[in-house]
Each structure stands twice: as C-alpha cells, then as structure tokens.
C-alpha cells in the first residue's frame, strides 16, 4: 500500500520490541461482541492511483462547470478569477500540511500571514479588529448573534427581511438552542432600514445585510443609530467580499460586528465549501469574539514575532465558558484570501469591484430591455433580482436547456413558495459581453 511505510519485517520487529504477539493484543479492551472477525464488508479493496483518478474524473465530468457556460449564479457564492500564484501558495507543503500554529517558534509563516489577513479584513470592513477566520459567512452570522447577546446580556436578535435565508436559518438554529428569541422581519427586497423600527430595550442586536440576498445595497447608518440609542448592537452582514472595494463597508455605517463570506477572494466555488468566514468587530468587543486571534509580540531576543493570543476566550482553555466551541477554522482559505488580496492591493480591489458592478449594470440593461422583465432591486453591486411573467423555476430550467445557468430562483431559498417569479442573477469580472448577449437572447425567447 503506497501510503504505508511499515514492512512485514518492521511490524514483526516492532511487536517483538513491544512484547506483543500480534496487533490483536492492542484491541483487547474492545468488547468481544464489537470485534470484527475480518475486514468490514460492503466496501471495495484498495486501488491504484490511476483507478481512483479515473473514478473521480468520471464523477467530475457529470457536472456543468461555471467556466464552461454563460454563468450568472450567485446568492452567497460567486464565480471570480483567482490568480494562478494563489493556488501555488496554498499548495506549498509548509502551509498545506501544517497544523494550527500552537508552536510559534516553528509556525511564523502561518502566523504572519494570519496577522496580515486580520489587518486586511479589518481595513476592508473598516472595523477595528478581525479574527483569524471562521467556517463561512453563515456560521459567522450565527456566532455574531450569540456574541451580541453575551455583550449586551440580552436575549433577542432581529433579522432583516433581506438576510440570506440560509444565514437566517443557521442563526436561528444556534440562537434558539441557547434560548435566544429571534425576530425575523418579513422578506423584502429593499427593507433593511425597517430594522430601525424593531429595536427596543431588550434587543441584543439587529442584523442587516448589504448587499442583501436580492443584491440591494443599503447604508445602514440610521439602523446603527437606532440600535445604539437602545444600547443594542448592529451586526452587518455581506456575502460578497469583493463589494467591500466599492460599497459602504460595515465600519463606515457604525456596525459593531461585521461578518461575511470571504469565498469571493482567493476561493473557488467548490460546490459550497470550504469557504472562509470573515469576522470583525470594534476594539471594545474583542474579548467576546469567537475564534482564533493572532497578535504581535517579541521573542527572547527582542525580535518581532507573532503568536495566537487572547486564547482564554477559546474552548481549549475556557471549556464550558468559552465564547464559542469553534476549534478548526478555515486557515488555508484565509491564506488564499490574504494572498489574493496581497496581489490585488487596495487599488486592485477597487478596480475589481467596479468591474463587477459594471458587468451587473450591463446585464441589467440587457435584461430590462426585454418585454415582461422587470429589475426589482433598486440599488445593487453585482447581483440583482428580476421578475418575469413566468414561474422562475420553469425559466431557470428553460435557460439551462439553452446552455445558460441564469441565476437562482428566489423560491429555492425561501420556504412556502414565496416570490415564485423572482430570479436572482449575478455578474462578475468573469462575465463577458457574449455571455450577457446569450442570456438576453435566451430570456427574450422564453418570456
């Protein structure tokens, strides 16, 4: 077996050193009834690299890839171009095959990149501090809600009607398990500011999203003011990190906690994971943050170095009093994020964001020229919702027949058949003029 270095002679010699007759001796503590006689039934035996590769390639070939068709699917994950050097960096053995940097003397590579990552995320969100990453945007949102309850010692959170429904579901799940009341405002394309009318003295936080799931961008400053007046927090959510290059970021709106999905920078679509959760907050809340934090210090010779710090918040020390149960995060995805951001720089990020917006504007122009198609998102970044006279599920299927992945029907995200004729479509720097023409031509045929 190609991954197992021990030879039969090694095994015999080792058993001899140990003083055991066979490996069965090591399993004597297993209850007799649970000991398997031979190998587990119902699974194939080992295979060579070629056979495994062939099997995987066959499965992969059954899927339609985003690069092969005019592609407009978004809603929390976005098709962007990732520079080749980013993948090279994350395939370096020293980053790929190392552990959480608990031994800082031999992990400065990981630690310095985390410190750079935290600085980049803090700058992009315009917040004071960012942690070293979470699983993804949705779980970050849930953690932000329970963090707000810890900070305010209150037990109610209010979700806007434009929060990504999957984010809302993940948040509701964690909150309800902890006895936190969750108020969900009715689904609305442009209703984020409504949050300001639902804050009272018992509210821990209000959670708004910009751009929201329908693509609507909103300045949440008035919501922040309303929240702060009642000593509640504003949690500001984003699912498209590239938007931070152009759209008003959480910190400029007075958010106390900013959370979002970082997949758009450095990450592939990966059918939903692994992604990277971004989590930032104001300085005074840092000790209530979940997840790992990397901080600057010096070594015994006074040289600058980095360590994981404020660890007493975490489960491996605080156990039942930890701020979260999170342990493993998204280290390698955070590395891809920071490497891609390092290549972009602030100027590159802004240009990339403008290109995304322009692609979406071009798409909107082309689609709204079709009779019966109405863009319903009033202000957007790179994604918007539109209606057609037909059922959206049928439209998506007919587009697919014409070789176009035209977006997400809102009814797939929303329970109870809400918004049956709404499609959410995204465009990015990967979207070409030909893609847009093909989409518009096909849609015109359909409606």
């Amino acid at each position: 077996m190609r991954y197992l270095p021990l030879t039969p002679e090694d095994r015999a010699a080792m058993l001899n050193t140990i003083g055991a007759a066979s490996v069965d001796d090591f399993y004597q503590d297993v209850p007799q009834s649970a000991r398997l006689g031979g190998q587990i039934e119902g699974l194939p035996n080992h295979q060579g690299e070629l056979a495994v590769e062939r099997h995987m390639s066959r499965l992969a070939a059954l899927n339609t890839t985003a690069s092969d068709v005019p592609f407009f699917v978004g809603c929390g994950a976005y098709k962007h171009h990732v520079p080749a050097s980013v993948d090279m960096v994350i395939q370096r053995s020293e980053f790929l095959t190392t552990y959480t940097p608990y031994q800082p003397e031999i992990a400065q590579g990981t630690l310095q990149t985390l410190f750079e990552f935290q600085t980049q995320v803090a700058s992009m969100t315009a917040m004071d501090v960012a942690n070293a990453s979470m699983y993804d945007g949705s779980t970050s949102c849930a953690e932000a809600a329970v963090m707000a309850c810890r900070v305010t010692k209150r037990k109610k959170v209010v979700l806007s009607g434009g929060i990504h429904p999957h984010y809302a579901a993940a948040t509701r799940l964690l909150c309800e398990a902890q006895g936190i009341e969750v108020v969900q405002l009715p689904t609305a394309v442009d209703g984020e500011l409504e949050l300001a009318n639902h804050v009272d003295e018992t509210t821990a936080c209000v959670i708004g999203q910009s751009p929201n799931v329908f693509g609507t961008v909103t300045d949440l400053s008035s919501v922040a003011d309303a929240a702060h007046e009642k000593k509640a927090l504003l949690v500001s959510v984003f699912t498209e990190a590239v938007s931070l290059g152009l759209v008003t970021p959480p910190g400029e709106m007075g958010a106390d906690i900013a959370v979002g999905e970082g997949q758009s920078i450095g990450g592939a679509l990966n059918f939903g994971g692994p992604y990277v959760g971004l989590f930032a907050c104001t300085k005074k809340l840092v000790r209530q943050m979940p997840g790992r934090l990397c901080g600057e210090t010096v070594d015994a010779e006074g040289k600058r170095g980095f360590v994981l710090t404020l660890s007493t918040r975490e489960q491996h020390i605080r156990r039942d009093k930890a701020t979260s149960n999170i342990c493993t995060n998204s280290g390698l995805c955070a590395l891809a994020f920071t490497a891609h951001m390092t290549l972009l720089g602030g100027k590159g990020l802004r240009d990339l964001a403008v290109l995304n917006h322009e692609a979406a504007c071009d798409l909107a122009d082309a689609l709204e020229a079709i009779d019966g198609v109405e863009i319903v998102t009033p202000r957007f970044f790179n994604e918007f919702a539109f209606t057609t006279p037909l059922d959206a599920e049928a439209v998506i299927a007919m587009l697919e027949e014409r070789g176009i992945l035209g977006g997400v029907r809102a009814s797939r995200l929303l329970p109870n058949g809400q918004m049956n004729n709404v499609i959410i479509a995204a465009a990015t720097e990967c979207t070409t003029e030909e893609d847009i023409e093909a989409y518009a031509a096909a849609l015109k045929e359909i409606v």
Partner: protein, 522 residues
C-alpha cells in the same frame, strides 16, 4: 612547469567565528521578510485588470468613503513573500509531527489533484441539481463509506469541522428531546474530565449544562462516579465521550456506559476525533452510540492547512436520524436530489447549520483517500497507527513515565513525573524542535500532570520512529538530570521563545502605520 595559479581555495577554512547578526537580516537560506505593509505599496498590484469605465450609477450612492489603503505586491514580490514565510513553518511533508489528538498523517497529492478537477472545484452550490449529478453522487458515495465504516444508518454531511459536527450531534439530541417533550427538563450532559475542550463548549452552545465525570486510575471513565451521576435520571440528556479517549485508551466499559445512559433516557454522543485507531477494525455502531462526528481532516487525511478547513460529517443512530439537518442527498430513479427545505420527508429536521452542503473540497479528498486504501487498507491504517504508538511507548517507557499501564491505542501518553525539579513539559517540547521535530501535544489531556501525548500515525516508517525515539530519549535524560539549558530551547528554530504574556497584556491584532514622528526620528 607551466604553473597555472588562477583559481579559488577549494578546501574549507576552519573558523570559530559565527555570523550572528547580518546586515540584511537574512541568515543564509532563511531570508528576511517584512510584513506586506512594509514590502508593498498602495499603488502597486499583482493583477492586470481591464480598465474600468468608472460606471457606478446603479449603486445609488451607497459607496465606500475611505479607501482601504491596503498595499499591493507584484507577482514576483508576492510569490517571494509567501515562499520566504513558508520556510518559517514546520510541516508534515518536512518531518515527523507527533501531535497527539490531531492525527497528522501524510496528505496524498492525488487527493489535491482530484479536488481541483473543475467538475468539483468550479461548480456552484445553487446550480440546478440536474447540472451537478456527479457532485451529488460523490457526496452519496462518501456517505455510504462513512455509514458502512461506522455501522451507523445515517450521516449528516454539512458540518464544517469536528466541533461543528459535535454541534450537529448535540442539536440532534436536543431535537429528539423536544420531540419527546422533555427538552425543558433533560438539560444535563455528562462529560469526562479528560474531554476535548470542544465537548463542554458544544454542550453549552446547545443550551445544556455540563456535569463532569472523573477519570479512574486506569485513565478511563470512573464507573462509580458515572453511576452516581445517574442516581437521578430525569434531567439527563446524554453523555459526550471520546473513544478511544484522549488518554489514547479504549473505554473498556463503553457498552455498559451506552446501556446505562440509554436506560436513563439519555443519548450517547461519541467524539470521533480518534477514529483513526479503530477504523476498519471496530464499528462505533456496534458500541451503542447515537451520534459521532468524523474529522475528515484527521482519519481521512484531508490536509490541516495550518488550522483548517476541516470537515465533520456526523453519523446518527436510528433514534436521531429523523432529526438530521438539511440539506441532504437522496437518490431515486430520477437521480440524486438535494433536500433543502424543512418540509415533507425532512419535516423533523432540526434545522440548517450552514449556508450550503458542507465541505465538498474535503469530501473529494476524503473519498479519494478511502478508495485508495479500500476496506483492507483502512484496517491496516488503524493497525499500523496503533502499532506505531505502542512502539513509541515501548521505546520510551524506561526513560519517561507512561501515564497508564498496558498497551495504548493510537497515541502514547506520558506524564512529567520523570523530570527534575524546574524542568517542565514545555522544555521537553521546545528541545524537540532543536532536534528537528514538531513537539507532541503538551498539557493535554488535563487529567495527567504535564501531559505529553504522542500520536505517530501510520504514515511513519520504523526508521523515522527510531530516529525520533533516540532524540526524545536523549532529551528525556537531560530533563531527568535537570539540564537548565533546556529552558532556553529552541536554539535552532527561526525564532526563540515568544513572549505570550506581552501579546496578551497589550494585544496588537493588526498592523498600524508608524506614527509620523516615529518616522521622522529614524
């Protein structure tokens, strides 16, 4: 003679001088490298984008006011930045990484290649299901492997990591209690003192309260204490138990524990972090458990990546299966389907844990690993992992203090009893760095004083283990003799010991530009 005198000296010149400080800050192959904020500049970039037309008309004025000011690096600078930093990291591809409880095994490159196939990497979670049948088939195939290897009837694939899998299992237990109408009263979860910190943290996240069970002198659950905890049962929600446990031992009384917790009306959550010791040899389903997460990044060799991403599919018993979270994959004559809404057959689901379907990239890697090993190879994995651990224990038992008598499973646990006064576990760990090894897990589990937990995994050769044991034997002898020089280790790493007190007292969590007066003073 026609004497030719042009040339250079070809034999080395012996000198005692050591170049400690260099002008460049580099030390030979170890290159000096600053932060990107010191290396790059805000007007540079390493990507060539088309020039935007500058159109922002549909933004409605919701525009960023202050630029990020973040620096960019051109590609050659960026590549060098990360290469230089990479050389300050230890890694499994470089050497032995005996970190107990973490299962640092070789990460096959085939798995990386498979995960990067565009058919897996370049598909969107919200594409029409008809366009991702291969991806859904892969999830279903991996689920079949996990269910068969564990002997369990169902598996939730969406948890993002081990701790997230714990959350999944405990939320399933909570939902089962809600269905029984007992969620309000059954709040107490029993957790052994030796548990991973994630266990009590998870129980609290799910609204339970934690009741700690003692360990006995054999490193297992103290059955007397456990039974005492069950004298009153109407508030018992369940138990969270790691098996093999964090002392590297199989819980001998596990079936009795399962029976007693079930009799008490509770459920049995098993932390599957140490599945590597028993994969292919023991099915947790035969032990009476109700839920167990599987760390694909441990047992099934998806890379740790410096702290993730992980993946924590969670197998569930018949009692908990109806409450599994959405989404999940089903199959019928029309092909594979993703059940995404809590309705119909999924109406008892406890909810949705994440935005999408789980860690697909990790699923591909794990399945490639399983297919490579097969059922026969996976059994050998467990046996070699356990053999290697026992070999390390046997080689070191005379110079170090094994925490418990007898054979271990996949990791060998020592206490610091053998060290002289003044020498601590951390000194041994740091001395290992100078010998070219990553330290073992230290000070965990908490039930053993100055714990040193060594998990070699099956991907180490006997030769490598012998070299490691020789080195650790030498260090252990120095520790027993009270060699004060160990307090300064590591001496040969890229950095000396770092000041964690300073980092925690005055947290500096991001780079800030030096103040103008500081620049002027330079």
């Amino acid at each position: 003679m026609g004497m030719q005198t042009i040339g250079r000296p070809t034999a080395p010149f012996a000198s005692d001088a050591i170049a400690n400080d260099t002008i460049s800050g580099s030390r030979g192959l170890l290159q000096h490298e600053g932060l990107i904020f010191e290396v790059g500049s805000p007007d540079k970039t390493g990507v060539d984008l088309p020039k935007p037309k500058g159109r922002t008309d549909r933004l409605g004025g919701v525009a960023r006011k202050v630029d990020t000011g973040l620096p960019g690096l051109t590609e050659p600078e960026a590549v060098r930045h990360y290469m230089r930093l990479s050389q300050r990291n230890y890694a499994i591809d470089l050497g032995f990484f005996p970190l107990g409880s973490c299962t640092m095994k070789h990460n096959p490159r085939l798995n990386e290649k498979a995960a990067r196939l565009p058919g897996f990497a370049d598909i969107h979670p919200m594409q029409p299901q008809s366009t991702v049948q291969g991806a859904l088939a892969l999830i279903d195939e991996l689920a079949t492997w996990l269910k068969t290897l564990t002997g369990m009837p169902a598996v939730a694939m969406s948890p993002k990591a081990g701790a997230h899998g714990e959350l999944c299992g405990m939320l399933a237990i909570r939902q089962a209690l809600i269905a029984r109408g007992e969620a309000g009263t059954r709040k107490r979860v029993l957790v052994p003192a030796s548990a991973h910190g994630t266990n009590p943290a998870t129980a609290i996240q799910c609204g339970f309260i934690v009741d700690e069970i003692k360990a006995d002198a054999r490193g297992r659950v103290d059955m007397d204490d456990f039974k005492r905890k069950l004298e009153h049962t109407d508030d018992v929600a369940g138990i969270m138990l790691t098996n093999p446990n964090t002392c590297g031992l199989f819980e001998t009384d596990i079936k009795e524990i399962a029976d007693l917790i079930h009799d008490a009306g509770g459920y049995f959550y098993c932390d599957g972090a140490n599945f590597n010791a028993i994969v292919g040899r023991v099915r947790p389903g035969d032990l009476g458990i109700d839920a167990m997460h599987i760390n694909l990044h441990k047992t099934f060799s998806t890379p740790h990546g410096g702290g993730g991403p992980g993946s924590g599919p969670t197998v569930l018993s018949d009692a908990l299966a109806p409450f599994a979270p959405v989404p999940y994959v089903t199959y019928d004559n029309d092909g594979y389907h993703l059940i995404e809404q809590i309705e119909g057959e999924a109406s008892d689901a406890f909810g949705r844990m994440v935005a999408f379907h789980g860690q697909m990239g990790m699923f591909v890697r794990a399945l490639a690993y399983m297919l490579s090993h097969g059922a026969d190879g996976l059994k050998q994995v467990a046996e070699d992992a356990v053999l290697n651990a026992n070999y390390v224990q046997a080689r070191l038992k005379n110079v170090m203090t094994p925490a418990f008598d007898g054979f271990c499973m996949h990791e060998a646990l020592f206490s610091d009893a053998f060290t002289a006064d003044g020498i601590e576990t951390i000194d041994i760990a740091k001395a290992l760095i100078d010998e070219g090894y990553h330290p073992m897990t230290m000070y965990f589990p908490l039930v053993v004083h100055g714990a040193m937990l060594i998990e070699p995994t099956e991907t180490e050769s006997k030769q490598e283990l012998d070299r490691f044991c020789d080195a650790l034997e030498g260090i252990a002898k120095r520790a027993a003799a009270g060699d004060e020089a160990m307090k300064g280790a590591p001496y040969l790493a890229p950095m000396k010991r770092l000041d964690e007190t300073l980092a925690a007292r005055k947290p500096v969590l991001k780079w800030t530009p030096p103040a103008p007066e500081a620049i002027a003073a330079e």
